[in-house]
Structure formats: structure tokens, C-alpha cells
């Protein structure tokens, strides 16, 4: 039989090939949730609380129900039998308030879902939500986490007298001794402000109920279709095998779609109730109100060091603004920060105390970097503060304290083991590429001219490739199925759920190399729980390291079976499979993968003790995390008249382990940098002191535009990870983690001669201008 499988010897891993996802995306033929149309589909719209804290005295839905085209209106009492929005984290003293899908007798944040209207079209639904009359009795609210911790602050949840959501303590070494032995101790309060993840595709769900066989199909804009299925089955009380979840094309997530949101479950509930498909999609305003926010840290740092710059100990208190409810992983955010507090430095003594605080705001949870940007921002700011205190060059101070290459694997005082790295080498590469010493000379000249030029350095180590299963409530493994179809084409199914990362491309490269077939003979499928084996999902820079390894191992298992079939067809016990053909090592006779695949499925005979079909599934559990690292350098200039910051140069040198596709790695770095730079300069979710969200549209929340982001230069070193056979680490979050301290360090450096040691983000022109006016003494 003819086979379309072409032999191939050129390796694709490491090549900058253009993406296989793109043809559908550049022609407008991709299908996002909002694009799904089902016969008889209805639309849901959510009525939300305008108050941060209020008792609900009554809800009158009659006018909405009588509005032509409205099918139903549901309120809290209609769903009180359903399960709660889940929190997947356990901590010894974690307080988990019951988080109903719709508010019951109280609302806890502006945007809290109170009722949901279902209508035959979206225009009618939009009209009808204005007709639902809710009587509120506002009560005292608390918006700022430090105020929420004060005695006498309004209790967010009546069942607990204070607003402590959880505490967490972790320490290694002897912190008291370290501080006693120190020549110098520097202290700083460092804030990582609340951010809106801002995937360009708002969240949305389409649900369809088949009453005949009692099955539910849910399309949702999610990063975790399999986990969503398990969670949603629990919330709805539906047998899990009757529920199919599909993540269609997903327009970005950045962590914000790693949840079971109330509206996802409500949409499914309504579809079951009315027996018609239901679509619900967030508006951007509601996206700001009711999609998780990131960061929300107030951190108190103390760093102890010797006069020569040797860093001895680090004490950190983290105040995490939880919001009013936990979402899936909320309490894990600051505990992840704790793991990376030491950065790339050889601290022996680290002490961390975390307190999570309830406030009358939307919940915080995973947003690109998730705990690691906060930790990196903190330590990379503190190193600069120490350098200023000791009048040492910040490059020299860092290199002096880096974990040396000879110490890997390196066990940190926070109980994790850095896998591999050469930290001094990457900083030296960045320093050399950017021309650091010349820049310092230019800076001196600029200062003589009265110009404010700054050079900012940030190094980072990232814990990613999540991860060993004890670290995750979902399990930390990932899965892959590889199937050689009868005609020889290859179908890969991954348990990851990419949404812009280009995994269909990178996994095709991996599979093409491992199997030795043409990339065009490979299709990578994901995101449908009915067709793809159980998986965990896409977050924490884990796709390639964990999912890619599962893929490699599945292919390796399959290759043994290919050789078993090849041996039968070649009537030899000495065969080797490579590049799409199986060869008898004695006679040189060959049989193609297509011929083997056809035989494996259609017979007529099969090798002894071998099952028909070429298909293999692997679930890979990583033995450790992987730890990418890097050094970013920023050159900026501050306009003393306005306080505006101009980024003149941005250099990112990253080490994400083995690179599968350099084009995609660069893309991840660029995008990550823009988000970190957005935090540093522009972005902030602002609630006013009455608990109202002020930044509720892109008119006020400054998402970086093209002209607000500089040209980003990239370079890399490549230190393979010993954790997985591909040697990959991960790159999804690296840029975000490095960018905020790099940018802020450059601006603080520009103002350092005025005595400025720290500035909290975002570095708005007004904030900088005031510092310049006050000669730095702010």
C-alpha cells in the first residue's frame, strides 16, 4: 500500500520553524468559545453587585422574567444545593469560606454574581439584567489588606472575627545567628500591586445538555479542561463520565483560566435546567470585576550581610491580599513566593512568614509567574539596596553571592533543589553584550549634564515545570498518547491544554525527531476530555518539560512495538527502526512505518504476545522541578520635567534549558517581558477606599500598547536540565519574572544619586516626578 509517510533525517528540535497553529488564526477560521453556535442556543448574562459589602434584603426578578424573550432568571436560592467554587489548597490553618455560585444573603465584592438571566438572544439578556431589582443594605467594607488586619476592621466573613485567611511559616538555617553576625542589615517594604491578567479573549462558556442520554458538553475558555471536568462534575453533582469538557481555541490565559469560575458552572446548570444550549461570555468590564487578579503582595524584607557583601540571611513577611474568597489555588501563590525568596544566591538562612488576608475585593490567584515575580522582585530590589548601602557594584555583589556551578544540584534553605545552572556566566554574558562598563561611563557623563540615566540589572531563578505531584493538588504529571494511524500518519494527544504557546508546533518537532517522520504527517490534538486521555493542563511553564517528556516516552515505548512488528515483517530478530523505516541489520531489507502501521491494525497476523495497533500512552511524573534562570539589563532615562521613563534598551539573556524552537522561545520572552514591564511602569488594579473598582475598562487600566514597549533584544545560554530526557526547563514565565525588577532597578539607579533606594510599582510619571522634586527624599 502507498504510504504518505516520508523519510526524514533532518532534526527539527532547535529549528525556528513557523507555527502549525497559525493558518487558522491568520485567516479568521479558528474557533474560540464565542464562535460556537449550537441550534436553539440561549444566552446568559449575570447581574453583579455594585457594593463591596452588603446584605441582600430581597431580589425581585418579576420584571426581568416577564420581559419578552427572557426564559428564566436564577438567584442564590435556586443554586444553593450545588457545590461551592472549589479551593484546591490545604494549609494547616486555612479558612475556606463557602463560595456559592451566586450570592446568598450577602455580597462580598463589587462584581459578585447575584443573579443570572437567560434569554433567547444576547441583546435581550443585556436588557433584562437591568430589570432585576436587588435590594441591598450596604455594610462597612475593607479594601486594603493591612487595614483589614487591624483590630476592629470589618470582618469580611462573619464566621471569623479577624480577616486572616491563612498563615504559613517556612525557614531554613539559623536566622537569628545570621542577623547577629551581620555588619549591615537593609530593610524595605516592597509592594507587588494587583494586576489584571487581561487575556485578550474574555472568559466564556457554552454548555449543551442531552436529556436523552443525560450527558453534558461544556466548551470553556480554560487552561485545564480535565481538571475543570472533575471539579464541575462535583459542583453540579453530575457523574463525571457524563460530562465532556472541551477547551476550543483559547485566546490567552496567563493563569486566569486555571479555575472553576462560578459562571462556568452556572452556564452548565442553566443548560441542564432549560434543556437548551446556553452561551455566556464576559464583557471586558466584568472581566476586570470578576476574573482573578494577580499579585497583591505587601512584603517586608530584611537582608543581613557582611561588609564585604557576603549575604547571610533574609527575613521576609508577606501579606497576601486574598480578596473575599479563595479561588482554586489562591493560598498557594505566596507559598510559591517563599520557595524562591533566596533567588540565585547562596543564602544559608532564610525566614518567611506569610499571612493571607480577606478583603472585600475580587480574589487573587495565578497570574503569569504566580508568586515567583513577587519573590524575584523582592530579592532583586534588596540586592540593589544592599549594593547601594555598601557602595558596591551590583554586578559584582551578585556574582559574589551566586550559587556556583560546582554546587548543583543545589539544596536551598527553602527545601527545593536547583537542578542546574551557571549564574555568573549568564550575567557576565549580559553585562558584556550590553557594554556595561561603557554604560556606567555614559551614566556619569549624563549626570554631569543633569540627565537622569539608569542601568537596571535583574537576575532570576524560576521554579517551573510543575512539577512533582506533592507540589500540586491536581497531580504534577502529564500525559501523552501517540497513535500511528493505519495509513501511517501520526496523531499525538497531549494532556496539556495550550492557548497560544505553540505546543502543536513544538510537540510536532519533538515527535518528528523521535519518530523520524515528516512534520506534516503529525497532528497534535488537545483540550477535549472525550478524545484525549486524562491530563493536567497548561500553567507553570510545564508543557514542554512535563508534557513533552510524556510524549518522548510514549514514542520510545511505541518504537519498541514498531520494531517488534518490523521484525515479524522482515522475518528477522535483528532490526532497527529509524527515520520512518525498519531495517534488517543482516539483510538490509526495509519496511516502512506505513506498512508496519497497516499491519499492526489490519493484520492478518500479529507478533506473539503483542497486541494489535500502534498506540502508546505515557503518564510522566517529573522527579523535580526545573529551574530556568537569566539576566536582564535595562537602560532607561527619566525626564526630570515630567517624570516619564523612557526605556532605551532592553536586553534579555535567558537560559530555559534545551531549546526546541528558538522563534517560539523568543516570542515567550518578549511577551513575558512586556507583562513584567507593564507591571513596572503602567498597570494597576485600583479599588478606591469605598471598595469600588476604579480601573474597570481599558480606558483606565493601562495595558501596554506597542509604542509603550521597547525593542527587546534576546540572547541565551543553554544549560540542559537533568530532570527530564529532553533537557528542557521552561520559558513561559521567565520574561515576566525578570522584567519588573530590571525596569525598576534601572529607574532607581537613575535617581540613586538623589538618595532614592526604592520605588513601588507602577512607576507612574507623577510618582517619579515627585521624587525628583523632593531630591529623592520621598
Amino acid at each position: 500500500m502507498e504510504t504518505t509517510v516520508t523519510k526524514k533525517t533532518e532534526r527539527l528540535i532547535g529549528k525556528p520553524i513557523r507555527r502549525r497553529e497559525d493558518p487558522r488564526l491568520i485567516t479568521g477560521t479558528a474557533t474560540y468559545v464565542e464562535d460556537i453556535e449550537l441550534p436553539g442556543m440561549h444566552y446568559a448574562a449575570v447581574v453583579r453587585s455594585p457594593y463591596p459589602a452588603a446584605d441582600i434584603k430581597g431580589i425581585d426578578t418579576r420584571a426581568a422574567e416577564q420581559h419578552p424573550g427572557v426564559v428564566a432568571v436564577y438567584t442564590g436560592k435556586d443554586i444553593d444545593h450545588l457545590g461551592a467554587v472549589p479551593c484546591g489548597i490545604s494549609l494547616p490553618d486555612l479558612r475556606i469560606p463557602h463560595h456559592h455560585l451566586l450570592a446568598q444573603d450577602r455580597v462580598y465584592y463589587v462584581g459578585h454574581p447575584v443573579a443570572v438571566v437567560v434569554a433567547r438572544d444576547r441583546y435581550i439578556a443585556a436588557d433584562a439584567i437591568d430589570l432585576v431589582e436587588v435590594e441591598y443594605e450596604p455594610t462597612a467594607s475593607v479594601s486594603e489588606p493591612e487595614e483589614a488586619l487591624e483590630a476592629g476592621a470589618p470582618a469580611v466573613h462573619a464566621e471569623w472575627a479577624d480577616n486572616v485567611a491563612f498563615t504559613h511559616h517556612q525557614a531554613g538555617g539559623d536566622i537569628e545567628k545570621a542577623f547577629a553576625e551581620a555588619d549591615v542589615i537593609v530593610k524595605e517594604r516592597i509592594v507587588s500591586q494587583r494586576l489584571a491578567p487581561s487575556a485578550m479573549e474574555p472568559r466564556g462558556t457554552v454548555a449543551s445538555w442531552n436529556s436523552g442520554d443525560e450527558t453534558l458538553t461544556v466548551y470553556s475558555s480554560t487552561q485545564i479542561p480535565h481538571i475543570l471536568r472533575t471539579l464541575m462534575a462535583g459542583v453540579l453533582g453530575l457523574p463525571e463520565h457524563k460530562l465532556r469538557v472541551i477547551a476550543p481555541e483559547v485566546g490567552g490565559g496567563f493563569g486566569s483560566k486555571c479555575e472553576l469560575y462560578p459562571e462556568e458552572a452556572l452556564t452548565a446548570f442553566i443548560a441542564m435546567k432549560i434543556g437548551k444550549p446556553v452561551k455566556w461570555v464576559l464583557t471586558r468590564r466584568d472581566e476586570f470585576l470578576a476574573t482573578i487578579h494577580g499579585r497583591g503582595h505587601i512584603d517586608y524584607y530584611e537582608l543581613a550581610a557582611k561588609k564585604d557583601g557576603t549575604m547571610l540571611g533574609l527575613k521576609v513577611k508577606i501579606i497576601q491580599d486574598v480578596g473575599s474568597f479563595h479561588m482554586l489555588l489562591t493560598p498557594a501563590m505566596p507559598t510559591l513566593s517563599v520557595l524562591m525568596l533566596p533567588g540565585l544566591y547562596r543564602f544559608k538562612n532564610v525566614h518567611a512568614d506569610v499571612v493571607g488576608v480577606f478583603t472585600h475585593r475580587m480574589a487573587t490567584d495565578l497570574y503569569r509567574g504566580a508568586g515567583r515575580p513577587e519573590a524575584t522582585h523582592g530579592i532583586e530590589r534588596m540586592v540593589e539596596v544592599l549594593a547601594a548601602e555598601l557602595k558596591m557594584d551590583p554586578v559584582e555583589l551578585r556574582i559574589k553571592n551566586f550559587v556556583p556551578p560546582s554546587d548543583f544540584p543545589y539544596d536551598t534553605p527553602m527545601g527545593v533543589s536547583y537542578d542546574s545552572g551557571n549564574y555568573a556566566a549568564i550575567l557576565e554574558k549580559a553585562v558584556e553584550t550590553v557594554g556595561y562598563s561603557q554604560l556606567r561611563e555614559q551614566q556619569e557623563e549624563a549626570r554631569r549634564q543633569g540627565r537622569l540615566m539608569g542601568i537596571g540589572i535583574a537576575t532570576y531563578g524560576e521554579i517551573c515545570a510543575f512539577g512533582p505531584s506533592p507540589a500540586l493538588p491536581t497531580g504534577g504529571w502529564e500525559s501523552a498518547t501517540v497513535k500511528i494511524e493505519p495509513s501511517g500518519q501520526v496523531t499525538v494527544m497531549t494532556g496539556t491544554s495550550p492557548h497560544g504557546q505553540g505546543t502543536q508546533t513544538t510537540f510536532s518537532q519533538i515527535a518528528a525527531d523521535e519518530l523520524g517522520v515528516d512534520i506534516d504527517d503529525i497532528v497534535v490534538a488537545h483540550g477535549d476530555t472525550s478524545t484525549v486521555q486524562h491530563g493536567v493542563g497548561t500553567f507553570g511553564s510545564r508543557n514542554t518539560s512535563v508534557g513533552g517528556t510524556a510524549l518522548v516516552l510514549a514514542i520510545r515505548e511505541l518504537k519498541e512495538k514498531i520494531e517488534t512488528y518490523g521484525a515479524m515483517l522482515l522475518e528477522s530478530d535483528d532490526v532497527t527502526y529509524a527515520a520512518g523505516v525498519c531495517t534488517c541489520n543482516k539483510t538490509g531489507k526495509t519496511v516502512t512505518l506505513g506498512e508496519i502501521a497497516m499491519t499492526s491494525w489490519t493484520g492478518p497476523t500479529y507478533p506473539a504476545n503483542t497486541q494489535p495497533g500502534l498506540v502508546a500512552t505515557n503518564y510522566w511524573e517529573p522527579p523535580n522541578f526545573a529551574f530556568p534562570f537569566g539576566a536582564h539589563i535595562v537602560v532607561s532615562e527619566v525626564d526630570p520635567d515630567t517624570g516619564e521613563v523612557a526605556i532605551q534598551r532592553y536586553l534579555a539573556v535567558d537560559d530555559c534549558g534545551k531549546v526546541i524552537n528558538p522563534l517560539l522561545v523568543d516570542g515567550q520572552v518578549h511577551g513575558g517581558v512586556a507583562q513584567g514591564l507593564g507591571q513596572a511602569l503602567y498597570e494597576q488594579v485600583v479599588y478606591d477606599d469605598t471598595g469600588q473598582l476604579v480601573t474597570g475598562e481599558y480606558m483606565d487600566y493601562a495595558l501596554p500598547k506597542a509604542a509603550m514597549v521597547p525593542t527587546i533584544e534576546t540572547d541565551r545560554t543553554e544549560t540542559p536540565s537533568p530532570v527530564n530526557p529532553l533537557g528542557v526547563k521552561g520559558v513561559g514565565e521567565a520574561g515576566t519574572i525578570a522584567a519588573s525588577p530590571a525596569v525598576v532597578n534601572s529607574v532607581v539607579d537613575a535617581l540613586s544619586h538623589l538618595g532614592v533606594r526604592h520605588i513601588d510599582m507602577p512607576l507612574t510619571p507623577e510618582k517619579i516626578w515627585k521624587l525628583v522634586q523632593q531630591g529623592g527624599s520621598a
Binding site: R122, D127, D641, V686, Y698, M699, D700, A702, P765, W769
Partner: protein, 281 residues
């Protein structure tokens, strides 16, 4: 985010338009760049929209009696790129190029921006510096309003509900006049935190004419006559400009919001006034 229901009319002439406004409780739709988002957010809910988008008379550019007459429905892109406007009234062209983004400039209109009177919009600064006149037409009458009387308050103008703006009348710049529009952008919306439009003409080594329009600082755009008075007759040295610019916020109740406090706005108003004047000199 969907507008409430409304009736819709699309007149083909100014007369039809003003008749519709006289007979209905209606609101005028120009490019819609301000109005439609407000309607989607349900901050505006007109019962009847009169769409001026197809009235040919409203997109004319003519020169007449030392003035440039710009039809109210000219898009920002048309104003920014018209060779005639660039030559005869470069300040309005330059300002138009600063508004919003490419798509907004393709749809948003001169008259629409003026009528919306957003305190942070760009055009009003230039219109003030140009001492523009606004032609307002209603069913049986029309009038010309000086721009100084046109902007009444934030989002409020002198336009009556049954009137439409048909054109803005701007002076053709005399030779030797330099102009510039300088703004500090609000990073999210692209509107002006402060924007300053300046026109300066030097004669015999002295500033013979100075006009300065300011947007973003107060509830309405205004002419900074204090700055103008200090500039006129001076040599326009750096010192002269700095001294004059310091007067830009005199008597103005400066706005304060998420993006800039009133103190900062006052300060950047002085900075951008100086920059606009320097660039115009």
C-alpha cells in the same frame, strides 16, 4: 455591552437633519467614537439617533475670506492628512494626528469631538488656540458661537438639543506663524492628561501674536490668555517662555483623577506649555 433600543434616522441633508431634531427627542450621531461606547456602557440611552454620516455638505473643506471652513463630519484622518488643511491651518492637522489611534481617526469627527466636549480631548486645545467659530444650525435659524463661549463645562457645550454643528471656522495662518500641539498621554485611553496647542508669530524680533489653548487641566479647554499676554511683546527667550508658561494654570480649577493629581497636572501644563511654545517658535 449592548446599547438600549432606539429609533434611527439617517438624513441626507442638513435641512432633513434639523427637521428630525426639531420634531423628535433625538441625539445626534456623528462618527460615534464617543457616543457608541457610552451607549454600550448604558451611560447614555437616547431614544432616537439622527445619524449625520451621509450628509455631503458636512465633509467639505473650503477656504473663504481668510478662513478655513471645516465640515463638522470630517474625520480626524481627513483633517490630519488634507494638504489644504496642513498648509492653511497646520495646528488643527497636527492635533488631529495626535487623537486616539488609526481606527478612531478613521471614524471620529471634528464636530463630534467638539460636541462631546471631553475635558481630556485633544481638539479643543487647538480650537481654543485658533479662536475657532462654531456654526450651529437649527430648523429656522443659525448662529456662530465663539469657541470661548462654546465649551460650558465637562461634557457640556452651548449646543441646543435641536441644533447641529455644521462647520468649524478657523483662521488661515499668516506667514511666519509657528504652531505646535504637545501632550502628555494618559497611557490607557490615549487622551491627554494635559495637552497644549500654541501659535506664535514673530515680527521684528518680538512675539507679535501668541495663542495658547489648553486641554486636560480643567473641566473645559480654555485659552491661556495670561500666558499669551506675557509672551506678546517679549523676545521669546527661554526665560520669557518659562515665565509666561508659569501662568498657564492661573484661575483654573485643576482636575484630579487616577492618572494625575491636580498638582501634577498644573506642573505638566506648565512644562507642556513651554514645550509647545518652544516648538512653535
Amino acid at each position: 455591552m449592548i446599547p438600549q433600543e432606539f429609533n434611527y434616522s439617517r438624513p441626507g441633508t442638513v435641512q432633513e437633519a434639523v427637521d428630525l431634531l426639531a420634531d423628535n427627542d433625538a441625539k445626534v450621531l456623528a462618527g460615534g467614537m464617543s457616543l457608541i461606547p457610552l451607549m454600550k456602557l448604558r451611560l447614555s440611552a437616547p431614544e432616537h439617533l439622527v445619524d449625520l454620516g451621509r450628509i455631503p455638505d458636512l465633509t467639505r473643506i473650503t477656504e473663504n475670506g481668510g478662513c478655513l471652513h471645516l465640515g463638522a463630519l470630517l474625520t480626524h484622518h481627513q483633517v490630519a492628512t488634507s494638504a489644504l488643511v496642513q498648509e492653511k491651518c497646520p495646528l488643527i492637522a497636527e492635533t488631529a494626528a495626535h487623537i486616539g489611534d488609526a481606527q478612531v481617526r478613521n471614524m471620529g469627527t471634528l464636530g463630534g469631538s467638539a460636541a462631546h466636549a471631553d475635558p481630556a480631548a485633544d481638539y479643543p486645545a487647538a480650537l481654543c488656540a485658533l479662536e475657532a467659530k462654531v456654526r450651529l444650525v437649527r430648523r429656522n435659524s443659525e448662529r456662530l458661537v465663539d469657541i470661548g463661549d462654546f465649551f460650558v463645562d465637562a461634557l457640556t457645550t452651548d449646543v441646543e438639543p435641536d441644533e447641529i454643528i455644521t462647520e468649524l471656522i478657523l483662521p488661515v495662518e499668516e506667514a511666519g506663524t509657528g504652531v505646535s500641539y504637545q501632550k502628555l498621554r494618559q497611557p490607557a485611553s490615549g487622551f491627554a492628561i494635559v495637552g497644549v496647542a500654541a501659535r506664535v508669530r514673530i515680527s521684528g524680533g518680538k512675539i507679535a501674536m501668541a495663542r495658547v489653548g489648553v486641554t486636560g487641566l480643567g473641566a473645559t479647554a480654555y485659552r491661556a490668555t495670561g500666558v499669551e499676554a506675557l509672551l506678546e511683546g517679549s523676545e521669546g527667550s527661554q526665560d520669557d517662555v518659562a515665565k509666561a508658561s508659569a501662568a498657564v494654570d492661573e484661575g483654573v480649577d485643576a482636575l484630579s483623577d487616577l492618572h494625575a493629581s491636580s498638582d501634577y497636572r498644573r506642573h505638566v501644563a506648565r512644562v507642556f506649555t513651554a514645550r509647545a511654545i518652544q516648538a512653535a517658535l
